[in-house]
């Protein structure tokens, strides 16, 4: 028991744990929309694209949050447009744009070195990479995301379920999509140092898929996915300390283990037997 509480005496661990829990919850929340829209691959690609922006801003000398943010949002909007237009194979275009961006990031950082978070921290997440600035940025992004989801709940739900009918029913679908891409980019950025770009996609997908297997209601899936994400962040960060492996990997492995348990218990079926109550 003492060994479990041991890391809590270190300020860096408490900070890391707070960020991991919040990051897990944030990704769990956004992940619901990403997975239901069939955009899991976009989350994966986008995090890689953002790595290019991260490296470039590190070399130019501007704040990586701003540099990578602009880069990430531009990539997200481009990907979203390609996906919706259905003219070219979206998966192929995403593969090209995001992998090239990632490769560019690796090349730039290898050649010039990083002035922000370390190479490994950006890729796999680090327990010691968390600054006060990172905490504030993550808190701000989380508050913004919750506000966006709350205020646009109906529009986001309709545009996710049925964009064409939503469009003719008064929902500004393009604006709603752009807003979702904005919060996704911001969330990937804000969780970059703890979870890492190569692993963030799993924190978007796993909590959402697990919660989908447990409920048939959208509103319940939203909070359940956030809760599962937060728990995975908390448990994963603790394991990361005790096992001395990068935090992102343990957060993802915790989620994967939970996924395995739920698949075993539910037989992997998505729930369609209903429950009581309106929302």
């Amino acid at each position: 028991m003492e060994a479990l509480l041991d890391p809590f005496q270190y300020a860096f661990f408490v900070k890391g744990l707070f960020v991991a829990t919040l990051a897990g919850g944030l990704c769990g929340l956004i992940g619901v929309y990403i997975t239901l829209r069939g955009m899991s691959y976009i989350g994966h690609g986008l995090s890689h694209a953002i790595f290019g922006g991260f490296a470039a801003s590190s070399i130019i000398g501007i704040n990586y949050f701003i540099g990578a943010g602009i880069w990430g949002l531009a990539s997200a909007l481009a990907i979203n447009k390609v996906t919706r237009s259905r003219r070219i194979g979206a998966d192929a275009v995403i593969g090209v744009i995001t992998t090239a961006s990632f490769a560019l990031g690796v090349a730039l950082l290898t050649h010039f070195g990083s002035t922000g978070p370390t190479f490994d921290a950006a890729l796999f997440g680090s327990i010691i990479g968390v600054s006060a600035g990172d905490i504030w940025a993550l808190v701000a992004v989380t508050v913004f995301t919750v506000a966006v989801v709350f205020i646009n709940y109906r529009a986001l739900l309709f545009a996710t379920f049925d964009p064409e009918v939503a469009d003719v029913s008064g929902v500004k679908v393009a604006r709603t999509d752009a807003l979702l891409m904005l919060v996704l980019s911001l969330a990937i950025l804000a969780t970059l140092t703890v979870i890492g770009v190569t692993l963030v996609a799993a924190t978007l997908v796993i909590p959402a898929v697990v919660s989908r297997m447990l409920t048939t209601r959208f509103s319940r899936m939203l909070w359940l996915s956030s809760l599962i994400g937060a728990v995975c962040g908390f448990v994963g960060m603790n394991l990361s300390y005790h096992l001395d492996v990068p935090s992102g990997t343990m957060i993802v492995l915790t989620g994967a283990a939970l996924f395995g348990v739920v698949v075993f218990l539910t037989g992997g079926r998505l729930r369609s037997r209903s429950t009581v109550g309106f929302v």
Binding site: R154, F161, V168, G170, R217, F218, S272, F278
Partner: protein
Amino acid sequence: MTRAGLTPKYLVRVDDATFGYDANPVLENVTLTVKPDDFIGVVGPSGSGKTSLLRLLLGTVAPQRGVVTRRPDVAVAYVPQLETVNWNFPITVSECVLMARTTRTLPWPTRHEKAEVARVLDRLGIGALAQRHIRELSGGQQQRMFIARALLRNPQLLLMDEPTTGVDVTSRHDMLHLLGEINADGVAILLTTHDLNGVAAHLPTLVALHRTVIAVGPPAAVINGPVLERTFGAPMEVLEHLGMPVVLDHFSHHNTFRGRETA
């Protein structure tokens, strides 16, 4: 709405419209008027432009040539094809119907909205299924759920894409009866169908479509050999039974295997 004399008599009017994806026109020189009490069925083979015509009427796409005019205050509601819906989506019937209420900001429904949803579901005979997951419903019930969602918007025009596909014969009959009631309540309906005998023959007005409008009129004027041959590109035999045109069955089989509707 302005002075009575200035209010157009139509809800939506398509004037000589041409529309296509990339350079290939799906619709050419289409002219069609939908008036407030109309109940129109659009018939045509797969790829004849039925869905594109619906999109033009909805305003989700604009014609490359020609004009689509909507009466300024017209409320249009759309019922999608069942096969385009993600049935694994985690929502209940009530949650789905409530989507029609897009103007309110707060996520949860008001007491008034709950009552409205309950009323429209009862009217469509699926009130008892309100808390079910959407996948638990039969094809006919799923169609009714989307009609409920459309009616919650108090539309003057209801556009429906193949509303009887995936619906069994009894439900299809009930569905036509229900749509007749909705139409009698003052809602104009335009639906697409490839079912000539089971659906089209029972509607007051038909439009035969194959890239352009081949014919418009009551079933007898549209479901006849010459019009059907121009529309479907194959000779078809039409008999008369109890005053209604009946297309001989060998065609229905032929059409069934044409595959999924794409445009």
